[in-house]
Amino acid sequence: MTDDELLARFEARIDRGEKIEPGDWMPERYRSGLIRMISQHAHSEIIGALPEGAWIPYAPTLKRKMTLIAKVQDEVGHGQMLYRAAETLGITREEMIDQLLTGKATYSNVFNYPAETWADVALIGWLIDGAAIVNQTKLLLGSYGPYARAMERICFEEGFHLKQGYDAICVLMAGTPSQRAMVQDALNRWWWPIMMFQGPRDKDSVHSAELLRWKVKIKTNDELRQEFLTKFVPKILAFGLVIPDPELRFHEETKEWTFTEPDWDEFKRVIRGGGPMNKERLGVRRLAHESGRWVREALDAFVREGRAA
């Protein structure tokens, strides 16, 4: 069969809603697009563990402490599942981690901002996990079997993350003036990174068209952003919180939101490593990786020398 025939057959399968599995023929750009997307997703989970993880020692109640550990543990677990899904495409976890640590791979920009207060932790759990759920429930419908299946479990756990974040916000908003002020301050700082979370505007998105056709992506960035706003803006306002965008409006006739564009130059700057926490985040990961090298070597040696019983 020629490549054109293979491609036609591949696309017909996708159109029929079939899942593509690891041994199946796939175009090189499908494979590389998926590797880029899944590994970026995995890196985001691993790096995403850091801003919240930093707050574990400060958690103000036993319940919050246990919940936060469980939540961050899930994120790390998602990283593991996603690295495994990506490995089915012919890349190793070590290669992906190397790409992350050397700055070749990217991860979600949102984690390059600092979690300054306890309200940030609550808000991240609610709105950033909320934004992630908007994306990930779509990825469930994606064409690549291992990724879609990983997403089933991930979406289930993200639902718990969202609830614990929302619960923490509820408690703070029902609390003292300074607890409420802390939430408003967190929203003021996180609103713009959150508005960038779904990625660049469709007209500036370089990878989208082909990945949409192959159901690697299901919805465009702009569509996802609209859905996020529809889902969360009413809930944010119901708390009496003020969204720091006076231009944000819903239009009944078009069923669309209009808003002030976030600073897309900042988005590019942060992606290239210029965000407030890029160096810190990678620094922590590098240190953990280097400090753990002897452990990995010992485990390898143990297996290599046939001691594993």
Binding site: P60, Q73, S178, Q179, W294, R307
Partner: protein, 262 residues
């Protein structure tokens, strides 16, 4: 139960709860920072178990008339904490954390096994439930300590130095507490000395089997320890490492003393 027995039981529960809480806190310092992803997850998981055990003990204590668990955890000064000095030591390298967990969970398994036949029913029920989780900790810890002790020269050296350093601290888990003899006489709790002997019998041969040198030697049927135990925790004497943990825990509450809920 007599008033004196209740007081002694409360003291013991506080020792156990504080041990579980403080070691759970230390373990959670690996969350997001583990040497491999799987171990990151394992330590987070065990940390939650230990904190859950702490909550169980604090709740029982509360039912005996003490403050509620969060008040107990978040408002006491270091001198009111009864955890062993062992548990408050910094997480160190992964060898130290892994060795501490191995020694600690070994002691916990012995203790819970004994408490599973306690004359005090609520404690007995709690111990039976906790033992189920400890079984997994034990399997995990033994697997890793063995692999790291037998892995490479570097890993062996690290595990040996962790063992040599941790062992005297670990003996502090069996430090006597006020009223111990009352609980032993009533069949509510085991004697610390008895637990210590069972623990040595369990741990020392295994560690030797893994090629590590234990700071203890056989003397007839018993193990005689060649190191002085690090004591004080059960009397409220601690190292400055506990202060660091408590300071972090108090940050939010002291910044907003009017806040009732978090």
């Amino acid at each position: 139960m007599t008033d004196q027995q209740t007081t002694a039981l409360s003291t013991m529960l506080l020792c156990l709860a504080d041990d579980e809480y403080i070691i759970g806190h230390r373990m959670s310092e690996w969350t997001g920072q583990g040497p491999i992803i799987e171990e990151d997850i394992a330590f987070s998981s065990m940390a939650q178990d230990e904190l859950g055990h702490a909550l169980g003990f604090y709740t029982l204590l509360h039912e005996l008339g003490a403050d509620d668990p969060d008040t107990l955890v978040f408002t006491r000064d270091a001198s009111a904490y009864r955890n062993s000095i062992f548990t408050e030591q910094p997480r160190g390298d992964y060898a130290w954390s892994m060795m501490r967990q191995f020694l600690y969970d070994g002691a916990e398994t012995e203790r819970l096994g004994a408490l599973a036949t306690s004359a005090f029913e609520p404690l007995r029920d709690l111990a039976v439930r906790m033992l189920q989780e400890e079984r997994y900790h034990w399997m995990h810890n033994a697997t890793f300590v063995r692999r790291l002790a037998l892995g490479t020269e570097e890993s062996r050296l690290r595990m040996q130095s962790a063992l040599t350093e941790a062992f005297p601290f670990a003996l502090g888990l069996f430090e006597p507490y006020d009223g111990e003899e009352l609980l032993v006489a009533a069949g509510i709790a085991p004697a610390e000395d008895h637990l210590r002997r069972r623990w040595l019998d369990r741990m020392c041969p295994l560690l030797e089997e893994y090629g590590l040198k234990v700071p203890a030697h056989r003397d007839g049927d018993n193990w005689r320890v060649d190191a002085a135990p690090v004591l004080g925790g059960r009397q409220g004497r601690h190292t400055e490492h506990l202060l660091g943990i408590l300071d972090a825990m108090h940050v939010l509450r002291s910044a907003d003393p009017d806040a009732v809920n978090w």
